[in-house]
């Protein structure tokens, strides 16, 4: 099993944490994005969109981090942490919250990660208007999460699943920025965020990141 990616890529981290949760043996093939390796011909044969991660399991080649995590969770359902539910209806609800992460949480939180974390590192000036707009969007999403987490221990159901896992990479970044106040000021969200960020598999990814 091989995962091609960069330890600082949030999408690659999403796949990495799933592999660690499942306690699977794999080779992590580092792709040097600063040298444009993800746009090389050999990488494009793994992911024609030139994005990390790319994944190989025997003859199967996959890309898109959330497709990789779903494959791993189903193919290795009996190993490591159970990241899905066997019950069809419970899994459908987990699937709803996986879509919520992708469709509601991801955009504003990624925008804030860029404005408040990546751009300063790259010497790019933060755009206060973009921060304000995205903080407002994220606040609305987190209000929904607060209500949800009052009724459910984790976001998808009462156990840790892909729906929670998919949040980890961006959540980690945001907790090192002023946006962490948005999470900490909501008691249920705060509890959930601390719990999932302190999982050993996630700590392994953070250590890899350096």
């Amino acid at each position: 099993m091989k995962l091609h990616g960069s330890p600082i890529s949030t999408a690659a981290q999403r796949a990495l944490v799933a592999l660690y949760e499942k306690e699977l043996e794999f080779d992590f093939v580092v792709v040097d994005m600063s040298k444009g390796e993800h746009k090389s011909e050999s990488f494009l044969s793994l992911n024609p969109f030139g994005q990390v991660p790319a994944f190989e399991d025997g003859d199967l080649k996959l890309f898109e981090s959330r497709a990789v995590t779903q494959y791993i969770a189903h193919a290795y359902a009996d190993t490591g942490t159970k990241l899905i539910c066997r019950n069809e209806k419970q899994m459908a609800v987990v699937s709803v919250w996986m879509e919520v992460e992708a469709q509601q949480f991801n955009a504003p939180s990624t925008a804030l990660a860029w404005e408040l974390f990546y751009n300063p590192m790259l010497g790019i000036v933060t755009d206060p208007k973009a921060v304000e707009e995205n903080e407002a969007k994220l606040a609305k999403v987190l209000d929904v999460y607060e209500a949800r987490l009052a009724k459910s221990k984790y976001i998808g159901c009462d156990c840790f699943t892909l729906a929670d896992l998919h949040h980890l990479p961006i959540l980690q970044i945001l907790m090192t920025t002023p946006v962490k106040a948005a999470f900490e000021s909501r008691p249920n969200v705060s509890r959930w965020a601390s719990e999932i960020l302190s999982r050993p598999a996630w700590k392994k990814v953070v250590a890899l990141r350096g």
């Binding site: 024609p48 199967l60 497709a67 879509e99 919520v100 469709q103 509601q104």
Partner: protein, 213 residues
């Protein structure tokens, strides 16, 4: 008790669900939601869909939202009954998921932005951002180049059978080719064009189009 689908039939995300249910031969009742009057932001509706968006479904006392979660559920639940939209092996299912993710993350936002700026804002009396439209169009060209290459090797996006991955594209491509007037993006690509002609002429999609009238 019949499955209820809440949403206007003109909106892309409800269409995604309707297309899937019609492919699976699942009976449903369409409950129209009036977006113009803000029905989707009312407390009653927010109980069904806390983000105030369409669609939402109610199947007895089981409720779901997010169109791609809804289609995954019904395509899996009724896989023996209607068309198999998800694949049979773990590998096939993974490829369907992969191209569903491509639609959601590499394709949808670009089309959504184009339609918002070119069609929705002008309708509301606001000027669309044409520079943004051009930038999205350029990115979409590159994405569709990847599709063109993929469809030269595979009959459909995930594999050689029509799946949720193809179905998920139907509403947005229809908007792109009609209201947004960007049909050239599809027509100028031989494989993408044949694929579009194929998937848009499926009886289930034609039924969705009829519901729009």
């Amino acid at each position: 008790m019949a499955l209820k689908v809440y949403g206007p039939v003109r909106a892309a995300c409800p269409q995604r669900v309707l297309a899937c249910l019609l492919e699976m031969g699942v009976e449903f009742e369409l409950i129209r939601v009036d977006l113009d009057s803000g029905e989707h932001k009312q407390p009653d509706f927010l109980l069904r869909q806390p983000f105030g968006q369409v669609p939402a479904i109610e199947d007895g006392d089981f409720r779901l939202f997010e169109s791609r979660a809804i289609i995954r559920y019904y395509a899996t639940k009724y896989v023996e009954r209607g068309t198999n939209l998800i694949g049979s092996t773990l590998e096939e299912k993974a490829l369907v998921d992969q191209w569903l993710e491509v639609e959601a993350h590499n394709f949808n936002d670009l089309v959504y932005t184009i339609v918002l700026q070119l069609v929705v804002f002008p309708k509301m009396g606001q000027r669309g951002d044409l520079a943004l439209v051009r930038s999205c169009e350029e990115k979409l060209e590159k994405v569709l180049d990847v599709y063109e290459e993929r469809l030269s090797k595979s009959h459909y996006l995930a594999a050689d059978f029509f799946s949720l991955a193809d179905l998920s594209h139907l509403p947005a491509i229809r908007y792109l080719m009609n209201e947004a007037g960007m049909g050239h993006l599809v027509r100028n690509r031989k494989n993408v064009n044949s694929w579009w002609m194929d998937i848009s002429s499926r009886p289930a999609w034609k039924k969705v189009m009829k519901l729009m009238d």
